[in-house]
Amino acid sequence: MAEKIRKILPAFLILILVAVTIGEIRADVETPSTSGQVNNVAPSVSGVNLADADSGDIGLTENTTTTVYCTATITDTNGGADISSCTAVIYRSGVAGGAGCTPNNNNCYSVSSANCTLGSAVGNDKNATATAYIYFHADPTDTGTYATAQGYDSQTWQCQLKGIDAANASSTATDSTPPDITTLTALNTDSSITYDALNPGSNMASTSIALNATTTGNVPIDVQLRGDDMTYGATGTIAVGNQKYATSTAAWASGTALTTNYINLEVDMAKPTTSPSDSTDIIYWGWQVPSGTPSGTYSGTNYINAVED
């Protein structure tokens, strides 16, 4: 019996060893024998681009806002689905604080996550689009007179876009080819002038009819004026020079006669800094009726253009 056991014992031990070894191998295949921690990595942002609808430099619209888009690609090595939101700051590059500027419609716009949309995850990426509405009085950075005088001509409008993940980790990037906001000269005026009724051969005592003018661009302006002769029917004409204007209620003799060619008038209207515009002025008008003028209702057109101061 003992001899039998002695012979069988090594075989039994080998069998046990083989069984344990096979079991270990199978365990490696079928069950997780390791565990590990995957750290959260902050997303990175690339390809930031700020542009308006037609790309290139940003041209504003008088007396309203213009939509601009700051686009970028956000990448997260934890997977594109980990990217949860984005925000942006759009600012004049020289403004105090840079991307940390205080929001101000002249030079700094903060875009919240509500206005920053994310596309679908593609691999580790999501496209981001931050939309901002730039007011007409935002600082210009081109080579206009005002921009140059302010030193803005060496600056641009910049967008810093922030990508944020589910763990609230974030990073930012800016546009490497930022655009300018171009100079906008614009004017909003009353659409008519109503003169006092006069007898032929008489004139108003002073330039007292107010024409309200408001700057609705992003630079200081003066104006240029011209007019057409006023007419009535086929024969009644009052030459354009019978209208005068001034920057105050001046005596008739002190007014400047209107001409058929544009003439500069120094009104020195400041750059608006708010919306509605805070830069307004009044141009005062008067007229005279030459002797021998037939009675009637005379009409004509006066033209008023903004010109950068």
Binding site: M1, I5, L9, L15, A19, A27, E30, T31, P32, G36, V38, S44, S46, G47, G56, G59, L60, T61, E62, T75, G79, G80, A81, D82, A121, G123, N124, D142, T143, G144, T182, T183, L184, T185, A186, L187, D190, S192, I193, T194, Y195, A197, L198, P200, G201, S202, L211, T214, G217, Q224, V289, G292, S295, T297, T301, Y303, N305, A306, V307, E308
Partner: protein
């Protein structure tokens, strides 16, 4: 002039406004200038001006006019919309392209003046004030060459699955009066994790950009990249041998599944950190019970215990002692 009565019946002249007194007229120009200080003879230059109105309920019939100062050069200037055009109602931004073609025999010097934009009254017979725009024109004709350019945009587009050339797109504005181009574009391609450099190259044979033109040019780089992957492109653009700009862009080769990121996230979360001990403990226990190692181990234990028990019984019965004695006797003999 003093007031006096004529021999005729006293005449009252009224200018009626017909209900327009409370309305306003608005117009804007951006930028309000056409400037170029580096025009050579026989050169061509274009600029786009945008005419704007906030609330253009009605069409704006525009008439353009050159100021007298421009009389000498007005034949050089062409406006794509002509000298009279209509801005349709509802259009807030209306582009106007102004082209300047300097003749071969142009006199050197600076020319300044205005292009006036005036609105035509919509309804004849009304006295109206119409806001328009003024474009300042400043042109300098020179015989000195001037070279400068700026980069307006930069991009890399995705590659198709089997595409072997990566294209870097550069939108370049030539600010000078001679042809120009970036001196070099350098590209480094990294893997999805921005860790391993896979490819590098330079392109120095870029397309020329003619004076005062803005053009998209392409820098090309031969690549052999695995499809269905994402990559990083690090791009350097050189101007006259000096680095002008360094930036990075993402690009894909072939189609990338839209939900790859979500799958990756799900896989990661199974061994995620949120509840690592509970999750790994539970997983290991269930796995062990289901695996063959448990059965084999159980069998092994039973065998070992059984074997041990059997040997013990043999020793107790003296068989073991008999065997030992027999062995000693055999050795001695």
């Amino acid at each position: 002039m003093s007031t006096k009565k004529t021999d005729l019946v006293s005449i009252i002249i009224l200018v009626l406004v017909l209900g327009l007194t409370q309305t306003a007229f608005a117009f804007g120009v951006s930028p309000p200038f056409v400037k170029n200080e580096h025009l050579l003879r026989d050169s061509h230059f274009e600029q786009t001006i945008c005419l704007t109105q906030t609330d253009p309920k009605e069409e704006y019939r525009a008439e353009l006019e050159f100021s007298p100062e421009l009389s000498e050069i007005k034949n050089w200037i062409a406006i794509d919309k002509g000298m009279e055009f209509t801005i349709p109602a509802g259009v807030q931004q209306f582009p106007l392209k102004i082209a300047v073609a300097v003749p071969q025999d142009a006199k050197l010097g600076e020319y300044q003046g205005y292009i006036w934009i005036s609105g035509k009254p919509e309804k004849e017979g009304l006295v109206t004030t119409i806001a328009g725009g003024t474009i300042k024109v400043v042109l300098k004709i020179t015989d000195k060459e001037f070279s400068d350019w700026q980069l307006r945009d930069l991009g890399v587009r995705n590659l198709a699955k089997d595409e072997k050339t990566l294209k870097v797109y550069l939108k370049v504005e030539n600010l000078g009066n001679v042809k120009t181009r970036p001196s070099r574009v350098h590209l480094d391609i990294y893997d999805n994790y921005h860790q391993n450099l896979l490819n590098s190259g330079n392109d120095t044979e870029l397309e020329w950009i003619l004076p005062f033109q803005t053009k998209e040019i392409i820098a090309e780089f031969p690549v052999d990249l695995e499809p269905a992957q994402q990559y990083w492109a690090e791009i350097e653009v050189y101007k006259d041998g000096e680095i002008l700009l360094a930036d990075k862009r993402r690009f894909n080769v072939g189609e990338i599944a839209k939900n790859v990121g979500e799958i990756a996230k799900t896989e990661v979360s199974s061994i995620q950190v949120s509840k690592p001990l509970e999750e790994s403990g539970t997983g290991l226990k269930l796995g062990f019970l289901k695996s063959r190692v448990f059965l084999f181990s159980l069998l092994g234990i039973v065998l070992v215990v059984g074997l041990g028990f059997g040997i013990r019984q043999i020793r107790k019965s003296g068989i073991g002692l008999e065997i030992k004695m027999k062995k000693k006797t055999e050795k001695r003999s």
